[in-house]
């Protein structure tokens, strides 16, 4: 049994006080991305104990398909939402890049799945109309993928775990996804949109009961020449307005 093809079913190795020896994110234990209070509440919750035990990257999709809302902690007691518990499970699993891209961009627009390369390179899924031009068309048939909460989960994980350049490159195409999401706030529910969520991930400091680590701004990265300047899908419209 090599360490590479199994991982532990519970979170004890992740949260061990004696020391963690497993995949690191930015040089530290992945669990430390969540605060101690939130971590404890997640691990003591019934959902985690019943449903998040013994998941791997494939069975996590089952749980994510049943998720009905995004959110951090709710109520006075700070009960964690299933979304947050699954995000913590992703931090425990530290899946490969290809798996996360699969979560993000799974779509059955073209039913023949040929190579893995398509999915690693294309960030928008292989939708026919939007694939031809380099700039994403905001009015493209925006129903990317069946499971929008799985996509939101993957986006949250990407924002927590990956490097800045990859974050911008992978999350920016999601700004064209305008689907509605149900969001559970401290008291009650609210409606939000996928592109609103992605924008919050890229700009805000705290979301879903975690403080996100500081992301260098796009301007910084463009100055360092690590990123191309952003071509907005709405650029054509804005120019048309200016000309009027």
């Amino acid at each position: 049994m090599s360490k590479n093809n199994t991982h532990r079913a519970d979170e004890r190795a992740l949260l061990d006080d004696r020391g963690y020896s497993g995949a690191l994110i930015r040089g530290q234990n992945p669990a430390l991305l969540f605060e101690k209070g939130v971590r404890d509440r997640i691990v003591d919750s019934y959902y985690w104990k019943e449903q998040c035990f013994g998941l791997n990257a494939a069975t996590l999709c089952d749980r994510a398909a049943e998720v009905k809302f995004v959110g951090g902690t709710t109520g006075i007691m700070g009960k964690p939402t299933p979304f947050l518990c699954l995000a913590f499970k992703l931090l425990q699993l530290v899946p490969e890049k290809e798996v996360i891209l699969e979560y993000l961009n799974f779509s059955t627009a073209n039913l023949d799945y040929e190579s893995d390369d398509d999915h690693v390179k294309s960030e928008n899924g292989d939708e026919g109309p939007s694939h031809s031009n380099g700039v994403e068309d905001p009015n493209a048939a925006g129903k990317m993928g069946e499971f929008k909460y799985l996509r939101a989960l993957a986006a949250f994980y990407i924002r927590l775990a990956w490097e800045p350049v990859e974050i911008y490159k992978t999350l920016e195409p999601l700004l064209t996804d305008f689907r509605k999401l149900k969001r559970r706030t401290k008291d009650g529910f609210a409606v939000t949109y996928m592109d609103q969520l992605v924008d919050d991930l890229l700009t805000k400091d705290r979301i879903f009961a975690t403080s996100l680590w500081k992301l260098p701004s796009r301007a910084n990265l463009e100055d360092l020449e690590l990123l191309e300047p952003r071509e907005s899908p709405l650029e054509g419209e804005v120019e048309a307005l200016d000309m009027d």
Partner: protein
Amino acid sequence: MGDKAGAYGTSGGGDTAFRKTWDREEYAQKAAERDRKQKEEGKARYEAALEGKKYRRRASTPDDVRETEARSSRLDFSSMVGKTMLVPAGAGVGKRGRGAGFYCEACDLTFKDNIQYVEHLNSRQHLAATGQSGDVKRATVEEVRGRLLWLKRKKEDDARDVVIDLDSRLEMHKEREDAEREEKRRKRREKRKKGKADGEWDLPDIKYENDGII
């Protein structure tokens, strides 16, 4: 015992089949096995002593250990709500044995709380008792993709079964009720028929001596 010939050359007196016979090979094998184990343990102890550590004899993993998998269905606690059961006197006390609460058969423990029960199901003790290793297989990209396809298909199938139109839903409900009523009527009729064959009343047959004449 050789050929059971007596000291005087005669064959053994009578039937000695009641005496127990021993399969020598089997016991020879067992002895060899035991010697081997002792040697290994001795070697392990020696090596541990050399390192300055203490040797601890650990239970070995059984050969048919399974990998842990995620739960496929929710735990159902609501089935016993509101029911009243008669339990023996010590049912409320302690974890061991069957008592009032959620019972785990593999470990013979009872838990009073559903959280305790779920924690137990995840614990090392229970995993060992059910022959699971506590490791989960890592998933590859292909597996994830296959899983997502399967989920999509399941979702589509479920969506196809859902009927949104109120009228057709009412019709389906009416049909179901009619079918149930028919079933009940049929059962009642069968019972009544059987009743008529045995006699209207269910009185015991009393037998009189001398045909009732005093």
